[in-house]
Amino acid sequence: MNAMVSDKITTPDPIPAPEELLSVQGLKKSFGTKQVLQDVSFHVPHGGIVAILGRSGTGKSVLLRCIVGLLPYDEGQILFRGKNVDTPPFRAPLLKACSYVFQHNALFDSSTVLENMLIPLRARGELSESAQFQKAKDLLGRMELEDASNRFPAELSGGMQKRLAVARALVTDPEVVLFDEPTAGLDPIRRNAVFEMIVKLQRESRFTALVVTHDVQEALIVSSRIVWLDAGCVAFSGTPSAFEAQEDPKFSLFRDNLQALKQSLR
């Protein structure tokens, strides 16, 4: 039923197939009797920022965790550059090409800021020790964290921790960066700063960003594509302008939430 509704209102994908970097097809995931993802299909084109939107509890973060293999899914398939990356041995190319920014940052709290940056570089082992240090310090400088190199994550402010989490994700020059609720719990000024940082870094480094967020207005401004999850299905997939043109109250209520609040209080 949901799949039928989803088919009816989904905007056709305007990106031609060869440019697809990541493709999610018919993904299903349940926890016990609760089906969180019912039939999720969408494509992520190369470059740009794709925002995954939806109400709380619609499975946005679960979807992101399924894509990178942190959660096993029940059915469906995930394609990276047209190749199936469902099982661990075949997932390696995706994991090598992607980085993940966790909702609560997942910084290594017993390591310093600089060590947090060096851990992914050492895991790759592609650079010499001195080149790893240089690269980590350069990126910390770009993120205005160079003075905090020898401090521990717990000694940083919330904004600095978020910047460090993003810096750590970018230090390996990933092709795809997955952001799980990067602005959760931040005030509007910091929220804007985080989105600004994502756009700026995306333009500089040309990675593809997949951002799970609740911030509809900001997502409409910064993203090149919107994927809307509703009741475990993709209810919309298309450009921000096509999303803004949607009349369906399920979108408009969420999109224009301030007007909806004003109206309900009148």
Binding site: A92, Y100, H104, A106, I119, R122, A123
Partner: protein, 251 residues
Amino acid sequence: MWFINALSKAGSLSCFSVLALFHIRSGGTLPARLIRTTYELGIRCLPVISIVALFSGLVLGLQGHYVLARFGASGMLGTLVSLSLCRELAPVLAAVMMAGQAGTALAAELGIQRSTEQIDALELMGISAEGYLVGPRLLVACFVFPVLTALFTIVGITGGWLSGCVLLNQDGHSYWSAVRLAIHSKDINECLTKALAFGLLTVALCAFQGFNAHLHGEAGARSVSVATVRGVVLSSIAILVADYLITALLV
């Protein structure tokens, strides 16, 4: 059913430990991780091991003095203290104390790293979390537990001398002679074998519980406390069970 469940858990624990040792180099910086782990498992446990060993020896000397006096065998105090410490008390008590100090810290640290997604982050970076976090601890346990058990034995025997000879006026020379004559290489072998086995069991069990804190049906801080309690209780039971089995095999 419970037997199959226990067997399955034992299998998972074995696979976890083998994976941890196999991928110990994953993520690099192995020497630094080994040094840090040696400090956490070894140096930080030194005070508690020394205090428990000293008082175990003191009590053993005191009890031994009066019990042996009943049979007119006060001269056997050195033999009693040294053999009971070397063959039984030192490996068991040292391992239980280390499970209490280092085991809880290990289970809690890994449990927090699991609940704050640090373990997920490591795995997404292509680092084996078992190898990076648990591998060095298992390796270090192989030499830290025997060393601390040896220290426990020495301090405990000295404690026996303090209570028996210094406080209760037994002959010190005959005490140390009895100690030297009582302990054979077989006894030292049994002591170190037990220490090695208990060390591996304690670290593997506590690490396994902390690492899989999210699988106990709890979340957040509660999952960490459940993992810590399970780690210490299970490793304490495992130490006693293994003690019986090793004693039965080596005696």
